[in-house]
Amino acid sequence: MIFVFLLVLLMLIAAIAASIFKDLISAVIAAALVSLIAAILFYLLQAPDVAMAEAAIGAALVTVVFIIAIRRTKRFEE
């Protein structure tokens, strides 16, 4: 139970960090970390198929799409 609290706390801090980073690549990395911990929480709630889909879409696909989008625009927020 303490472990679930730790994971939720880390997820919250990563989400706040993703919104205040000025370097957009760092923000994308923090968002990928939020998605990874969300997959762990789905796994702890005994839903391994949902965790598999979340890990595939959230961690890899969204990261790659965001990186391609940042490459077409600017990297640093002003």
Partner: protein, 85 residues
């Protein structure tokens, strides 16, 4: 759950917190990328341990997909940081 498994969970939690501090602090984006990759490796170990605790060995497939998928994201990130896709 006996005492050994609780000690394992505590060690994995300590590793997660330390890598997380590096992700928050790291001066460049490369430091953060390496920290998130280390968190991924630690979480794969956690998934295997939880599959052992719950005694459902179907759950090990999740850790397989997890480690393969995170590799793709890290390769895309490293390629962008080196020369920009």
């Amino acid at each position: 759950m006996n005492g050994t498994l609780i000690i394992f969970l505590a060690i994995i939690g300590a590793g997660l917190i330390l890598c997380f501090l590096r992700m928050l602090k790291g001066p460049t984006a490369s430091d953060r990328a390496v920290a998130v990759d280390t968190v991924t490796t630690t979480i794969v170990a956690l998934l295997v341990l939880l599959g052992f605790i719950f005694e459902r060995y179907v759950y090990l497939d999740v850790s397989l997909v997890y480690s393969m998928i995170s590799f793709v994201g890290l390769v895309a990130l490293a390629r962008f940081l080196e020369r920009g896709i």
